[in-house]
Symmetry: C2
Subunit: 519 residues, 2 copies
């Protein structure tokens, strides 16, 4: 690829054109204001659908044929089945058999279980992927094997792209743990239960054709109707849409690592010292071991003081469910449901509703909830001395992770990254992040096992915590400490070729990802 490059607002070189479409460089928050209207999918007519409401067709192949699958189409999937998804591979296996070429796969995220799709990129069925890549597909892309350029978007950015007509989905294939023949479906019931189905909401609303694939067909009406059959064209019943033990994430234990527990404790103490925790506060914490430990610290603190959190956004797990059940949390708004107790809670507890990423994260919405959150705890693969963050690539340049809601979450009132100072003797604080996924101006605090660095922009936090006794350091001090132990890290060896671009939440380009030099 030899596209023209321009330097964007955060100093990164990004192409002016990707996969043949013009792109806008990141201009700073609130600076890019697209004119025009949201996308409207084609007008449909109820007469073209079965009067008895039965949209079941015999197989996914027949559904794809009926939906008019052809070369060059955009096919979307969601990732609520996580690494247990059995549906996405099947789509492209069928497409490959049919001799279809040059599809764009537009998943809300991909996982190691989707490595099979490399085969369909090799045989020409899939042209490129627009979506977060966890693992093998990221490696494949990093090494320059994908014909097109990958486009990574945050969860909110994916909604924005669909809504604004930046990505037009020809066919959405929606794996649904329970569906009725009309296509009303949910994720809370059935053998492949996964909780909410919010990531598939924009796909169902905006795709030209939508196919529900289920292994648990129930008579109309499927209640709750998380997605509405009024947006579904075909329903396919298969033996199994997912592998339950891979749908329910494996990382749902509070960390037992002393270092990580220390990170969690420092984070919780910082939040308390900074006055971020109060009766009625709200927070978001992920499902990783450190995040769970932090939430647990919050839980115990609230209990001790007789306080409640008004709401939290999940990634829900048994820990947040327990907090809800025990009364230290009033509402658990759930964008992604990580374990069985969370699925059960969503099914039974009105105060644990499934919500779509749209509600929480969509920048092109009439307000979005990230800005309202008091405490946001996030991870990062790298940060740099300007507090810029990276969540998609490793320091060797390999693109191995998705953005998730990370960029969207940076809009919170206080964003904290608890990170180890080094991983495998590789410092995590660098002069410059390999990939700039979020601007440093939006990262407020970095907590490491050897000290806490507050972003100098947050004078208020510095003032509030100055007498807390917490181990504050500058980010340069932290960097120096790591380098004293591990040495100055080597720069990754990269080619000029751009293999992927990173979108900001408004659809502009915040960074490019270069091909890794392979021997």
């Amino acid at each position: 690829m030899a596209a023209e490059l321009v330097k964007n607002f955060v100093g990164r070189l990004v192409p002016t054109e990707v996969n043949g479409k013009k792109e806008v460089p990141y201009l700073g928050n609130g600076k890019y204001r697209p004119e025009g209207h949201r996308y409207g999918p084609p007008i449909v007519c109820g007469e073209d659908y079965p009067a008895d409401g039965n949209k079941v067709v015999p197989s996914l192949k027949e559904a794809l044929q009926a939906a008019g699958l052809r070369d060059g189409m955009v096919v979307s999937t969601h990732h609520h089945l996580r690494n247990g998804d059995l549906v996405a591979n099947e789509i492209f296996r069928i497409a490959s058999e049919m001799g279809i070429k040059d599809l764009v796969w537009f998943p809300s995220a991909s996982f190691p279980c989707h490595a099979e799709i490399i085969k369909y990129m090799e045989d020409g069925t899939v042209h490129h992927i627009e979506g977060s890549m966890n693992g093998p597909l990221g490696k494949y892309c990093s090494e320059g094997n994908m014909r097109g350029t990958a486009i990574l978007r945050s969860h909110g950015g994916r909604y924005q792209a669909i809504e604004d007509g930046e990505v037009i989905i020809d066919i959405a294939v929606i794996a649904a743990p329970t569906s009725d023949p009309f296509g009303n479906c949910n994720g809370v019931n059935g053998p492949s239960a996964c909780g909410g189905l919010g990531f598939a909401l924009p796909d169902s609303l905006y795709a030209h054709k939508s196919i529900v694939v289920t292994d648990n067909l129930v008579p109309f009406p499927c209640i709750p109707m998380q997605l509405l059959g009024n947006y579904i064209d075909y329903v396919v019943v298969v033996d199994k849409i997912g592998v339950p033990e891979e749908i329910v994430s494996g990382t749902l234990q509070i960390t037992k690592s002393p270092d990580r527990l220390l990170l969690a404790e420092l984070t919780a103490h910082f939040c308390d010292a900074a006055g971020l925790i109060y009766d009625g506060f709200c927070f978001q914490a992920g499902a990783g071991g450190t995040s769970l430990a932090i939430s647990n610290f919050f839980h115990q603190l609230l209990k001790k003081r007789g306080w409640k959190a008004r709401w939290a956004i999940g990634g829900s797990t048994e820990y947040s469910v327990k907090m809800l059940a025990e009364g230290q949390l009033e509402y658990l708004l759930d964008g992604q449901t990580f374990d069985l107790s969370a699925i059960k809670s969503m099914r039974d507890n009105i105060n644990h509703p499934d919500i779509s990423v749209f509600h929480i994260y969509d920048y092109h919405s009439k307000g979005f909830n990230s800005t309202m959150i008091d405490v946001m705890v996030l991870g990062a693969t790298e940060v740099d001395v300007n507090f810029n963050g990276n969540v998609v690539s490793h320091s060797d340049g390999y693109l191995l992770h998705g953005i998730g809601g990370w960029q969207n979450c940076l809009f919170s009132k206080c964003t904290i990254l608890p990170i180890p100072l080094f991983r495998n003797r590789m410092p995590v604080i660098l002069d410059e992040v390999t990939t700039l996924v979020g601007p440093g101006s939006m990262v407020d605090v970095i907590v490491t096992e050897r000290g806490i660095a507050i972003n100098p922009l947050r004078k208020d936090l510095i003032e509030k915590t100055k007498n807390s006794g917490l181990p504050f350091k500058t980010i340069l001090q932290l960097q120096a400490e790591a380098e004293a132990i591990c040495g100055k890290p080597a720069k990754p060896e990269l080619d000029e070729d751009i293999v992927a671009v990173i979108k900001w939440v408004d659809g502009t380009l915040i960074d490019s990802v270069r091909k890794v030099k392979t021997k």
Copy 2:
């Protein structure tokens, strides 16, 4: 008005242009296929909304000003507060004070409580109404006083019109019994509780600006979120949005009239004889006294036989709630909630979800649920010997009622109109209906106190019930019986001027309403 008229598929003369916009005559079902795309409202940016999620402005006037209210705009409201609505009049009182002219009011329905808006048509604030008119506004329109032509749409047709961009709502004002400062809102809680808010769903999704008006502000998050704050621009808190005793309808008693009970009994027996009632059937019955009696017959029959109805569509009332609670009904899908026990049930029972008219009725959807319903019981002001039905005007030509979901419901598997043979010595079966709201080909059975007429097109129903012992007659026989008692009814005295048009579910014109000759 002297627009060009054309004869449509059912032989009615309709204008080719209404209020300056081209219109299409009704061409028969499935014949009018609009090309193109659904409407997309302008792209918005979260940066323009308060980061703390607080969209409260001090008054409705300030909200309307902020929303840019100006001459000629389309302003929409919903009718879940029914005859107890205090918000709609207030909008136009404010607009009138501001000197705004020529607004189009686009309510999902209007009630006698909205008679004050006549004043704002007189002073030029409101140009015309597009929406069902119950009572005084209909009379005002019928007598030719409205400057523009009224446009009446079914509930599903209103959704279709918004979705297809036929009506572009500039400002939606959504009265909400409970809301949070972000604009997430519901109708199940608060002093003005009304149940679901489904009629306002398309308004919130498609309006350029949306204002929630509430008398019960709760801290974020308002759960359940029936409508999403992500689509709301401003929130206004007032003392009172509605008069509770007028929100809960007054017609919620099973009829005690022997004639109407007979209609109900005949209808239920007919359904049973025709095999329409079975274990797992589904039905829709309204909230009128006769309909409630019919539902009650169904309930008792199911109980006796140990059967269940799989689902019903409400207009929910204590009767349908009882059926749900006692186990003779599995799911109550609720588009409109008519009494307090129904509101409570919706709040507490997951099997009683609020749903939007879109799910049930929208013809421009990927299937709609009316076509799946086994038994549909509807009312009518008139029918004619060709089974055509009228629900909007009386035989004196006055347009006094809305269409509601009536047209949408005609798509059911069996549509039954239980009607008295005459009202106030005026026969209900005519040579020709005053206003043709639904084509006779879609009306299957007419039940009167003096006999049942099956539409000759429904040979299957005739065959199934021939040995039932029920009192079958032809529609001409029924007409003759009524005329023998009441005499041949006089035709209404009408001018040539068209004061209103009736849309079919696909946006085409099925009939025109003429000005009534006044002395």
